[in-house]
Symmetry: none
Subunit: 208 residues, 4 copies
């Protein structure tokens, strides 16, 4: 009984927390960290400002938590995409597709995500960058190992270091996603993952 009661309270707390984070995400994404006040967030989330501070130590902390939690979901999803096939080509295909879907569903977050992973929002706070970039680096290594395996198995030609290939592929995806975020009508990120992968797979010039 006690336990259940506590757990119910805990759930309620979680729900409130999510509402706060959602309000914050929507505002940060729309206006940027420095142009959003805690007042504004508390109003949008329909909580008192004091309550906000019960959940998050300060504005920085709120932002940090927001970014890290979402980024975690991102990286988990993308890593999962790489696991969801035996064939390396299929893995990459899954990854490109998953990245597209993920971003499509989280448009407002991507802007912040780009800001953070691209180092653009400088040091809104020092710590955050490091954590999130370490995580991003981990993912790049996972992606690189897919290329490495493919090369080992002679599925891919060794045209560059696996890590470089990982960087290249992820960058291309980001490039297209960025264009799409900018102008969703333009629909820059191709539905068919092979549009992106072909650039990688086929090569521009004939081998002699």
């Amino acid at each position: 009984m006690e336990n259940k009661n506590l757990s119910r309270r805990q759930k309620e707390k979680q729900r409130q927390r999510q509402e706060m984070l959602a309000a914050a995400l929507s505002l940060f994404s729309e206006k940027g960290y420095h142009n959003v006040s805690m007042q504004e967030i508390s109003e949008k989330a329909e909580f008192a400002i004091g309550t906000l501070y019960k959940f998050f130590k300060n504005k920085e902390d709120l932002y940090k938590v927001l970014i890290l939690e979402r980024a975690e979901v991102f990286h988990v999803s993308l890593s999962a995409a790489l696991e969801n096939a035996d064939d390396e080509i299929e893995k990459l295909r899954n990854y490109v597709k998953a990245k597209g879907e993920l971003f499509r569903e989280n448009v407002s977050f991507i802007r912040i995500y780009f800001a953070e992973t691209r180092g653009a929002s400088f040091n809104i706070m020092a710590g955050l960058d490091n954590e999130i970039r370490k995580r991003y680096g981990q993912f790049l290594n996972t992606l690189a190992s897919v290329f490495e395996n493919g090369i080992k198995q002679k599925k891919f030609k060794k045209i560059a270091k696996p890590y470089y290939l990982a960087v290249a592929l992820d960058s291309i995806c980001n490039g297209f996603l960025f264009l799409w975020v900018e102008d969703p009508e333009f629909n820059a990120y191709p539905e068919d993952p092979d549009t992106i992968l072909n650039i990688f797979f086929k090569g521009l010039i004939d081998p002699i």
Copy 2:
């Protein structure tokens, strides 16, 4: 004599302006627009704050001028690189090399540049984004036309729309540059442009 005197003053003015912009660049790059105060900039530039305001209408204006002047240099240089050869492959080589050099020489600016072209800094101000992105779009089109010509002349295989190829190549360069900016020791951006171009040219898998 009069003329010379005037011109000397003008030169002095220019020098001061450049010093202010340099101080601002270094601070914005290090801490981000909102974490730098005009006081700070004026101190770093070793001018009184009032003098800063004689040169720039306000903080926004200072930032805008800073970004636009430098971005213009960037885009001009990159466009020039594409002109500096007859052969399309050579053009791309020039571009990749030029981009690397340009960024190497302007590390502190790149952070801001990424922030702006990647849309990361949200709406620090509305107008700026538009101008700089239009300019970026123009450049992408120029790059795309190199691919288009290469394809027409059967130098390149048509593995994707020229604009997509442009986006892809520029994104890869940016990806590497970003890694390098993050950790200059890592030296992620390859000295030899072909390291990057090979990823493009050769293709991962053998044509059947």
Copy 3:
């Protein structure tokens, strides 16, 4: 209970607001709008400056509210004085007396009042002047109609247009009040309203 609690808070708010307005009035009256800083007002009112801004949008707003609220009381009182009698002569007597009392009790406000109704404070802000002058104009018309009625009823000779008479009487009162404000010892505004009214009623020269 809830209701009472709310009402108590509301009352507390009102009290604070009045304290702020009182502090502002005393300072504005003593030093003039531009020579008083919000800092100063907040200190005199014994609130933090932020609290001041919770109550008033900005300095202009604070001033506007101050003037308009008090001016309203003034105009209401003076208009009431004109209603408080049937006889026109008695009405004027009431008005002259009321004006004297009103000003005696609000010395520090009169300086500002003169500044505003006399157009002296130029454009501290555009809107205020208009509102307060319109109100002043309305009052002059009310006063004029007393003269008009008096003339219709042959109580007064028609020595000038009623509106002119209103302007003249109000001006004389203001003239004496001004002298008194300048030097309260001199006691320029006569206790007996007839001292002023006689100037009006009797005429300097005998009719022939």
Copy 4:
């Protein structure tokens, strides 16, 4: 020769001084003391700002000089009007007329004049008020003595103390002038001085 040269320089100086004062008057009148910068005045007068400071110790001093010089002219003219006739009634007539003309020709100054004599601009500076008010008091006494003489000679009935009569007449003039300044179209200040004087002379009610 030397002498003449010096005197020419002196004249040139005077001319410059007048230009500065004229520019200042026009700006102060339009925007108010605190909304006009020394920069602005120097630009309007077409002198360097440093030159302005050669002529006037500081902004306050410039204002003070401006007010006092013009006020002097005013008071001299009005006093002269009172001398320009033998008959007291004629004197008053001259005065009312002169005041109207004076103000008509110096509209932009009147606003400042009202501000100062009405105590409206509080203490833009402490000293000014005193000097100018003393001067104003002197004039009121001169005017009062006209009434006194008139009464002695049985030209006027003694309906109030001469000083009160002076205050009353001047106040009425000011009241009309104020209305006229506010809305020059309305033309509140009557061309014929008797319109104003009648209010004084005839009296509202018949003597019994």
